[in-house]
Amino acid sequence: MIAVLKHELSGYFHSLTAYIFSAFLLAFVGIGALIYNIQSAVANFEYVLGYVCLGFVVIIPILTMRVIAEERKQKTDQLLYSLPLRTSQIVTGKYFALLAVFLVPLCIVAVYPLIFAQFGEVYLLTSYGSLFAFFMMGAAMIAAGIFISSLTENQGFAAGIAIPVILLNYYSVTLAEYVSSTAFGSVAAILVIVLLLGFIIRYLTQNQNLANGISILLMLAVAGIFSVDSSQFEGLLPDMMKKLSLFEKFYTFVNGVFDLTAIIYYITVIIFFLFLSVQSLEKRRYN
């Protein structure tokens, strides 16, 4: 894992990727700080982060699009497979390298509240609490980005999927107001999700029976619960959309609450997508 980590890091700092990413992030934070802290003379640095997090829609795909897609395109994935490395070591090595690249501009950003504190009273605890949550949210999106990159060998395509996925996540709370909150609407949405899950299982395992089995089992479970107590499903869809939003969880921190469940949620998302990435790489051997 260390070998992959070192190799990836030297790759990022030899090419423009790390610098472009840092430049974008610092520019966003700089503009935010200018508007909120300097122009409006507000001492809350966390508002800047709340504003900047929309920038993730662009900068995370830039960072993650090539991570596995490029290996496939250059056929260097064959080297990785033939080396005495486990797939999980390859994925975690790549992931930690990306986290390190993400951490570099954040270290610079971490100095800002201290600078502002020289000129007035800054709530350092909420500032750094938000910065930590900002890092965790980015880390969760990077994990999702790695998985998307592992699905294709075209970097542009990987970015093209990652951008709308993050954007959709950003707007999911707003959209939740407009979707149907009836029990029937929720059941329909769940069935669609179950079908999608079935397709993903089939894609990853190449096993039609397994995918069918799991999908049918889940659908029967949903139908069973629905027939017993349909009120369970009322308002479930908008609720789910709100709960799945990575951004909504982050705003809790901006408002000054250190929400441990949110951190656990981010960690769960990270583990989930890294696991899927490993499966996606393993699956390549089986087609």
Binding site: G11, K75, D77, S82, L85, R86
Partner: protein, 316 residues
Amino acid sequence: MITVEHLTKCYGDFTAVSDLSFEIEEGHVYGFLGPNGAGKSTTMNIMTGCLSPTKGRIRINGHDIFEEPEQAKRMMGYLPEQPPLYMNETPAEYLRFVGEAKGLKGCELQRQIEEVSGQTKIEQVKDRLISALSKGYRQRVGIAQALLGNPKVIILDEPTVGLDPIQIIEIRDMIKQLGENHTVILSSHILSEVQAICEKVLIISQGKLVAFDRPENLEKLLLASNGISFTAEASREEITKVLGGIDRITQWEIEMREDELAMISVKTESEDVKDICRELFFAFADEKKAILEMSSKKANLEDVFIELTEGGVSEE
């Protein structure tokens, strides 16, 4: 050293490799021969753990490639068909990464990098970007990568494809040298190459193993194809009569040309083709028929290859 048992690989309905079994012993250069699409690369990819088989087992020194992948892969160096190089790195950086991934550290890593750079003669380009290197040098860097960690087996997939003749000779010499200390398996669809460097040849066609022997034994397989072709001034009946009188000729073909000359090719099982030529000459001379041209042909690996692989096609 390497045991392959009942290896089968299907892509959907298409069977790329079917029930392939063979055993590779230590310390030889093995040639993996077959026409394009015969399943050479697929087999090699499975042997190195890059692909999983649909059925079958592969063991390297007793370690199953899928059950104990780390031990098994440590014993192998692999150069795929397209060298897996990172274009924006220098060979030195690239070899350092591969070495570290193979578990080498510190002085040992440095020593091995220098050693393989020397063996593959890439010292003078080791600080240039790989993207700026010629195809021959890229191939060498790929081989250097496979040599790191001093693996017992080195697997090279079509190592000379796309190189110029001088580079081909250099790479072949390098492979021969590697064969002194390692077991080398190389694939190729070029017969002369396999004949020149390999001590044992596996011929596969349509995913099946059709022959596995030394090149010279494979030639003996096709005894009957020791042939002589000649042009004579005689009619079909006369030729048939003369040829019928020579016991050692097993089969013949006669083709009459428009200018009254006959083109004849005969096959014999006798090793001594020269003697048959002499006999043919005197037999025709006795009948006062002139032989205008005569040439003898010994079976080579190419004939074996064509016969075996085309035989596979007609079976299907």
